[in-house]
């Protein structure tokens, strides 16, 4: 589903190489996790895939179901089925959460040549999915993420994912800032979306999230590259021993 080959990325503003040849394939129906030290390039990878400005791809490719992601505008990538749950969700004063989500859902439908969802249907679905994430009606009405607590922002990301029903979901540290109960809610939200047609790439520092969202494959990223790939046991190894051994082994 997601195919990344030899991806090299540097900053546009300064001559700094951040991704140094990332190779990664996420198959439909699978959950892949990426772990790695701070600053290794995990968020950069997620931003480059979703089309944020400021990065220059100097080599390599990234495709979603055979379509070249790097050629598309961010909104086209979203319509093609890519979703990023941000490490730091953005506050947007003056834009209501509900308006925002309905605009997004309908824009994606339109881009795919589908009919718009009616206001009534949308309301019904969003209420149901918000309830599952313990997001109350008041939060839906408020401006996007404004005044939300760290954990509320993360749950709001998962709500957006649930509403947009993307094919390929990238979660960048969605567990950070969540209390134990919220983490379970988020994991349940993710698990509810797991199916044969959908792929997940879960960026995290902690085993805890992976207890709830059982990954099929775990990658370790260091200094802009995937340096090791293994099964769920790799995450446990990191949890117990940190990165030193792994990095020494591949060095």
């Amino acid at each position: 589903m997601l195919n990344i080959k030899n991806l090299h990325v540097q900053l546009e503003e300064e001559d700094k190489q951040i991704l140094k040849g990332v190779d990664l394939t996420v198959e439909a129906g699978k959950v892949h996790a990426i772990m790695g030290p701070n600053g290794s390039g995990k968020s950069t990878l997620s931003y480059v895939l979703s089309g944020r400005d400021g990065y220059e791809v100097t080599e390599g490719e990234a495709k979603l179901d055979g379509e070249d992601l790097l050629e598309m505008e961010p909104e086209e990538r979203a319509a093609a089925g890519l979703f990023l749950a941000f490490q730091y969700p953005v506050e947007i004063p003056g834009v209501g959460n509900m308006t925002f989500l309905r605009t997004a859902v309908n824009a994606q439908r339109k881009a795919r040549g589908e009919d718009e969802i009616s206001a009534a249907d949308f309301l019904k679905v969003i209420r149901e999915r918000a309830k599952a994430l313990k997001i109350d009606a008041d939060m839906l009405k408020r401006p996007v993420n404004v005044g939300f607590s760290g954990g509320e922002k993360k749950r709001n990301e998962i709500l957006q994912m649930a509403m947009l029903e993307p094919k390929m979901c990238i979660l960048d540290e969605t567990d950070s800032g969540l209390d134990v109960d919220a983490m379970k809610l988020v994991a349940e939200g993710v698990n509810a979306l797991r199916n044969e047609g959908r792929g997940f790439l879960v960026i995290t520092h902690y085993q805890r999230l992976l207890d709830h969202i059982k990954p099929d494959v775990v990658h370790i990223m260091a200094d802009g590259k995937i340096v090791k790939t293994g099964g769920p046991e790799l995450a446990l190894e990191v949890e117990n021993n940190g990165y030193a051994d792994i990095l020494a082994e591949v060095a």
Binding site: S50, G51, R52, D53, E73, P74, E75, R77, A78, A79, F83, L84, F86, P89, V90, E91, I92, P93, G94, V95, T99, F100, L101, T103, A104, V105, A107, Q108, A111, P143, V144, Q160, L164
Partner: protein, 424 residues
């Protein structure tokens, strides 16, 4: 009867084109106003109060040509139950207007009223009181206004009154002067809509007595080439409420002045405006609020969206007089510059002579928030729709100053339409 005119100068050249109407009760006020115009002289480029806005085209003897503009949009507030008073290029149109009768209100026309005692106490009075700063275009208006509406509100007006200003002549040069007097406890909502004329000089004096409430919502018409200089002069009694909102889309030059004197305790004055300009657009909000009573609240909230070289100006002042304790004054002016060619010039001022007051002011200029834009796009919202959403969000703080949801929604719809027509 003309006084010996000094040698040719812009003021006299302008006055030469005008004839003072005669209507008995207002004659003295008109003559006094003319004397003030001559004393002050019409604004010139070097006047401090016109530092950011060139007054030339507002002062020159004849109106510059302004093409008419049509689009698909129906009349604003079209579905609203309101009393319509229509002016075409500044000329009253009885045919298109409703009967000037409304429960709780007495309505007369400046051009027709033979002897209006209440209005003769007000006409030109609040304007002439604009003592701190010369406002010669307003004095010119008092002297030469050809018509206008005199509204005496004795009770709660049964429904809003809507002045509708149609523009059908490319060279029309209109001068209208309205007077609104609200008795104690009376209530009125006044709507003003339409481009009015190629050049429009409008003044409105509003006397809000104790406990009275005045709501004013205005949408200056969409004609791209129109010019306007408008003045609102308001005097607020104790526990009165004055709220005025103006939406401006398009127009080559607009100068909206609002002068508010708060003279009674516990009064509330809100003035707000949202404007959107694309290209040859210059919009100036000049506000002067004087607090001369206890525990009064004033708010000024102005937002401007500017693109393709459009210019926005804000000059706003809060003057708190000695003894006006517990004044709560707030002022914010912000611009959203959609490109590097546009500019926003602001001169916020506070002048405070009382020690127990809370006054704050702020002014900012900024571009679209790139982080927010990317966030919206990453959810599949196309760039131009995301930009519209963020633009409306920027204007929201000003638009939300309109209390009435129906009026507010109608204006938001207009803004949306404008944004859709002015993308990229």
């Amino acid at each position: 009867m003309a006084e010996p005119a000094p040698k040719s100068n812009p003021t006299e050249e302008r006055l030469d084109t005008l004839t003072m109407p005669q209507n008995g009760w207002a004659d003295a006020a008109r003559k006094a106003a003319l004397a003030r115009v001559r004393e002050m002289g019409l604004p010139g480029r070097r006047d401090e109060y016109w530092k950011f806005t060139r007054p030339d085209s507002l002062v020159q003897p004849t109106a510059p040509v302004a093409a008419l503009f049509q689009n698909e949009e129906g009349p604003l507030f079209g579905d609203l139950d309101r009393l319509k008073i229509v002016f075409v290029d500044g000329v009253f149109d009885a045919e298109q207007s409703d009967d000037l009768t409304l429960s709780g209100v007495r309505i007369d026309r400046l051009a027709e009223s033979a002897d209006i005692h209440w209005a003769s106490d007000l006409y030109g009075t609040l304007e002439g009181n604009g003592h701190y700063v010369p406002r010669p275009l307003a004095a010119l208006n008092t002297a030469y206004a050809t018509d206008g509406v005199l509204i005496h509100v004795t009770d709660k007006a049964e429904k809003p009154i809507n002045f509708i200003y149609l523009h059908e002549n490319e060279t029309s040069d209109a001068i209208l002067h309205h007077v609104v007097k609200l008795d104690p406890g009376a209530e009125l909502t006044l709507l003003e809509t339409g481009p009015a004329a190629a050049r429009f000089n409008k003044a409105m004096e509003v006397d809000v007595a104790d406990g009275a409430t005045f709501h004013h919502v205005r949408a200056q018409g969409r004609d791209h080439e129109r010019r306007a200089a408008t003045h609102i002069f308001a005097r607020l009694g104790a526990e009165s409420v004055f709220k005025s909102f103006t939406l401006t889309v398009n127009g080559r030059l607009t100068r909206n002045e609002c002068v508010i004197d708060i003279t009674g305790d516990d009064a509330v004055a809100h003035v707000a405006g949202a404007c959107v300009g694309d290209g040859d657009f210059h919009h100036d909000d000049t506000v002067f609020v004087t607090h001369d009573a206890l525990r009064c609240e004033s708010r000024q909230v102005f937002k401007k969206v500017l693109r393709n070289g459009a210019v926005g100006v804000f000059q706003g002042k809060i003057l708190v007089k000695e003894g006006a304790q517990k004044t709560d004054g707030y002022q914010i002016s912000q611009s959203l510059l959609l490109d590097d060619d546009s500019q926003f010039l602001a001169k916020p001022e506070l002048e405070i002579y009382a020690d127990d007051v809370a006054c704050s002011h702020g002014s900012t200029s900024g571009a679209i928030d790139e982080e927010a834009l990317f966030y919206l796009r990453s959810r599949g919202v196309p760039a131009e729709i995301a930009t519209d959403l963020l633009t409306l969000a920027f204007l929201a703080e000003a638009v939300e100053e309109i209390e009435d949801e129906v009026l507010r929604d109608a204006l938001v719809e207009r803004l949306q339409g404008w944004l859709e027509r002015h993308r990229g």
